[in-house]
């Protein structure tokens, strides 16, 4: 990650005060200890739990070797969840990132009303998952906003329970994700683009380049590192973070149509009390996250 590299460089270049800095690292030990205890420790524990047969949160566990993984790779639910996750990511990321970049670029042009627009685009970043889910639960329900609207314009035939129909539930989950993600990422792109020296843009404009060309041929390459970072973050947030929203919107249904890998981990642990299986799926999710991060980094590097 570029910013990580940057930070480490900054640290070595800009030395501390002349004189002793001994003992200063001790100041960060309480924070480090806290972080290791509540984050890194549990992460390591996930790998261990995935090798246990553990059928109840308050019950006893016994070693099970790799049998949870055998069960996982032999179960249809796992492949279905994998496919759902792939569809979700495969649509959300390629749609979200370019649109968000365009929104961000548009904001930096400071068009009329851009302050208002910025506030609106920020809104999903302020609202919790449960509030978002409640709004869409109401809007997409059988008696909600969308159906009411369709009836009002005479398209009664198209009304349906959007979240409870097998053919639309996943699309709705993706749309809510995009609703949340595009505006917020757009504002982030705008913040990054604002720190770019605008002379280049002006020069290109004088040469007669269109905004579209300036956006993709100049602004995009300059900020490609940040595009990569944000793509990576959105990838991780979608991959791991979708469980809460889906749990509230559809509980993974109807059937299994909206059960992503992260929701499967939740369901197996808390609905079916199979902690070993759940954490084996957790390990797979973790590996996918890591592989995806490396892949996105490679893709960005290759563009340079």
């Amino acid at each position: 990650m570029s910013s990580v590299k940057f930070r480490l460089k900054a640290n070595s270049q800009k030395a501390g005060p002349v004189g002793s800095t001994k003992g200063l690292s001790l100041f960060s030990l309480p924070a480090l200890g806290w972080f290791v205890f509540f984050t890194i420790g549990p992460l390591v524990a996930m790998f261990y739990i995935s090798t246990l047969n553990w059928r109840s949160i308050i019950g006893q566990s016994e070693p099970a070797g790799f049998s949870n993984y055998e069960k996982l790779f032999g179960s249809d639910v796992f492949y279905a969840a994998l496919q759902t996750t792939a569809i979700q990511l495969g649509i959300m990321i390629p749609v979200m990132i370019p649109l968000a970049f365009m929104v961000g670029y548009y904001l930096t042009l400071k068009p009329r009303g851009h302050r208002v627009l910025r506030v609106i685009l920020f809104t999903p970043g302020l609202i919790s998952i449960s509030a978002t889910a409640m709004v869409f639960y109401a809007a997409l329900g059988p008696q909600g906003l969308v159906n009411g609207l369709l009836e009002a314009i005479g398209l009664d035939d198209l009304t349906k329970p959007w979240l409870a129909s097998a053919d639309t539930a996943l699309a709705m989950v993706i749309i809510v994700g995009l609703w949340q993600g595009i505006g917020y990422s757009g504002v982030l792109f705008a913040a990054r683009l604002e720190s770019v020296n605008k002379d280049l843009f002006e020069a290109a404009k004088l040469d007669g380049a269109s905004e579209w060309r300036i956006m993709w041929r100049i602004a995009f390459p300059i900020t490609v590192d940040f595009v990569g970072t944000l793509t990576m973050l959105q990838f991780l947030w979608t991959l791991f973070g979708s469980a809460g929203l889906i749990l509230l919107l559809t509980r993974g249904g109807p059937g299994q149509t909206t059960t992503t890998l992260s929701l499967l981990i939740y369901q197996k642990a808390f609905f079916e009390n199979d902690l070993g299986y759940s954490q084996a799926a957790g390990v797979v999710l973790f590996v996918i996250g890591l592989a995806g991060m490396i892949l996105i980094r490679r893709l960005i590097r290759a563009r340079d």
């Binding site: 501390g16 627009l117 609202i127 449960s130 791991f240």
Partner: protein
């Protein structure tokens, strides 16, 4: 704006962005008007103003979801987590900003990489940890976990901020005989207040809005649950009263929007810095 600047592409882009803005605004409008309606009115006229203004939706939501208690619980968790986070992050950032040792470099690296660990991956082990410690269904454990979940980003951001404070200040203070703790408290803390307020804002949003861990670690018992967990309890599998449900949603948003109105620019900067620099 000069007319020549209004190229077709730009107009098209503008129309698209505003259309998207509208898509964002419509559900929010729907949320607010529907919170004052009954089910029938919501369905028959989703965009119209309420035929009857049902302000009692708010009192009904308040009572049925026991929101008073939930708000107190959320406030408890958010405030306690803020205090612990600052107590850990300020010294850590000061140390990391000024130390040149290998250990510091390593610790900084752990936090930088730790930022990429998705909290969700640790959900089940963290639950088991809370049971092991005898703190299951306690707000205190949720608080401690939330601190950990925001620690790495907070340390990264504040360390960057403290690095911009000239080291000469510290040197002259040491010549004056101040020890490290006093330097941190009397020099670094006051000078890094903008950075501190940034992480306080960023973390408040994270704490107040957290849902999944609050659900799993504390549960939906009306005495302990946070607002985000209380909210979905108003969904009824057979027949949901949408008016009170959306009224409760509005109530949970009020603290965040008050913050946004008061801190507007600062809050935007905090949110963007959180992702841009992290």
């Amino acid at each position: 704006m000069k007319f020549s600047q209004l190229s077709g592409g730009r107009l098209g882009a503008g129309a698209l962005v505003w259309a998207y803005g509208l898509l964002l605004a419509i559900p929010i409008y729907f949320l607010v008007v529907s919170s004052l309606k009954g089910n029938l009115d919501i369905f028959n006229d989703p965009f119209g103003l309420p035929k009857e203004w049902l302000f009692e939706n708010y009192s009904e939501a308040w009572e049925r979801a026991v929101l008073g208690k939930a708000l107190v619980n959320s406030a408890f968790v958010s405030i306690a987590a803020e205090i612990i986070t600052l107590a850990l992050v300020i010294p850590a950032s000061y140390g990391l900003a000024r130390s040149r040792s290998r250990l510091s470099l390593l610790i900084e690296r752990i936090f930088a990489l730790g930022f990429l660990i998705p909290a969700f991956a640790t959900l089940v082990p963290v639950l088991l940890l809370s049971i092991q410690l005898g703190l299951f269904q306690r707000r205190e454990f949720l608080t401690m976990f939330m601190v950990a979940s925001t620690l790495s980003l907070s340390v990264i951001l504040l360390t960057q901020f403290m690095r911009t404070i000239p080291a000469e200040l510290e040197e002259s203070a040491m010549i004056d005989g101040l020890n490290r703790f006093r330097i941190m408290w009397h020099i670094y803390l006051p000078l890094s207040l903008p950075g501190v307020s940034m992480i306080v804002i960023l973390n408040f949003l994270a704490y107040w809005n957290e849902f999944l861990f609050s659900l799993v670690l504390v549960g939906s018992n009306a005495d302990n649950r946070t607002v985000q967990v209380a909210l979905p309890t108003l969904i009824d599998q057979t027949k949901t009263e949408f008016g009170p449900l959306l009224a409760a949603t509005v109530i949970t948003l009020i603290p965040v929007y008050i913050l946004y109105i008061v801190l507007n620019r600062r809050l935007e900067n905090a949110l963007t810095a959180g992702a841009v620099k992290g």
